[in-house]
Symmetry: C2
DNA sequence: GAGTGGTCTAGACCACTCC
DNA sequence: GAGTGGTCTAGACCACTCA
């Protein structure tokens, strides 16, 4: 890793107006992000202290602080006073439901001990729709996973998951079955792929006979269709997910601000 | 407005460990929020400069900066380099679709020139469900608005809106009809109520015959039910909204991070 | 007690907007 | 050119964690 920010002048030296001006802290952000992406610091690990990073990058601690602040706000890092700054991970309890926004209707925010039932894991070719979402060519190879999420033995979510990237060739039904913990934690630990953010599109649809059977509802029953594209570092689209939620006793929770 | 932060010691003076410790910038945030809430600075207006606020509150500019930064991140203020800091408003183009997350299916982010059709505006008594959402007593008086949103002449959204607070007694169908611009902008300008954040619960439901008629779809058609509670300053619940979205050619867009 | 992040200050200079 | 927010620095002290 470089020991100097990407700039021609020392920080204090007066510089001519720069048309492609990029603040120092932004460059530090990029350097840290590169370290995360390259695996220098792995999810769950402690990164160097602010003063250490300031020394390493040749900037003041305040500048490192601003960079780390923003990365923490974006969810890539996690600051803990007195302990240090950690790389975010899907293994933490705190963030397990950051991506699954479905919660039981009762007011009590009961954490949901969801059971999982994997139906299938195979290699498929990308359809036009999935290819567009993932930014690959139609016909390219993808890994597909189909599964159910159940609450108290009753199916609540049916999902089809499409994964891009050669790494996921190695994913097997056996590995999915045996793994305890969130899917994204598995991807992180064994496929070096951390999901950083996602975009979702929601629709209400009437259950087809097939879908009705999977979710044990009547055909025509209204279901919440959730299409998600998940991105890893550097906005690389990695996963496309098509989920059908039975919202008779659950709802999708969202906050606007 | 106070000219000193709420603290017994001068900022530099060493203080005994404080069990109910609150950082200075947090106190400044509260003071600014109180100014917004009390109408000292109205939506769209310019607030004093950082150095002016620092002088007024007797703290350093850096402390004011941190307070304003957070208020801007929360959407209450809007910073514009070279011009100053403004109170956020629903009148701005930029934030018009911050609360309505429904967008047309086409990739092109075509701004939607939605027509509105007000069906009714009357005083009603709060049902248990609405009372709980708004934190009022069942049976309390509320103002109810029912309306349709249309795109190219076709209804896409049916909404029932419940407004708490004596101010909204004065709301009339005529005023709604004649007002150009978002509903929240009207509330801001004429009812001194700025919506700051909202919580939504989404479900898929089958259209009742009545609902099907409003939205010109077949009975049983899957619709997206969006229940929203909107909050003004100090987390005061002001509005409950029950919306039915036809998602055949639109979808609800959400970002996770 | 040592080390970490969190707060606060003071001062400098830069980029942007408007007169 | 004056005024605003934006960046950057240097140094001090505080709150928290852990050994």
């Amino acid at each position: 890793m470089a020991t100097r920010p990407v700039t021609d002048t020392t920080p204090q030296a007066p510089a001519a107006p720069n048309p492609s001006f990029s603040p120092l802290y932004q460059q530090i952000k990029d350097l840290i992000t590169r370290g995360l992406q390259g695996g220098e610091w792995k999810p769950g690990e402690l990164i160097p202290s602010e003063s250490e990073l300031a020394r390493r990058f040749g900037v003041s601690q305040g500048t490192v602080r601003k960079a780390v602040d923003e990365l923490a706000a974006e969810g890539l890092l996690l600051r803990r006073q007195g302990r240090g700054t950690f790389v975010s991970t899907h293994h933490e309890e705190r963030v397990k439901f950051r991506f699954l926004r479905l919660v039981p209707d009762g007011e009590g925010m009961a954490p949901q001990p969801m059971e999982r039932q994997f139906l299938e894991c195979k290699r498929v070719r990308a359809t036009h729709e999935v290819a567009r979402a993932l930014g690959v060519k139609p016909g390219d190879g993808l890994t597909q996973v189909r599964r159910l999420l159940l609450l108290q033995g009753r199916p609540v979510v049916y999902e089809e998951i499409y994964l891009a990237g050669a790494a996921f060739r190695a994913l097997t039904a056996e590995r999915l079955e045996s793994y305890r913990g969130p899917l994204y934690a598995l991807f992180e630990s064994e496929f070096s792929t951390r999901m950083v953010r996602a975009e979702e599109r929601l629709r209400a649809v009437n259950a087809t006979p097939q879908e009705a059977q999977w979710l044990q509802v009547d055909p025509g029953q209204a279901l919440l269709l959730v299409e998600r594209v998940s991105f890893s570092y550097s906005d690389r689209a990695v996963e496309f997910r098509r989920g059908l939620y039975n919202t008779q006793h659950h709802h999708y929770r969202n906050e606007l601000s």
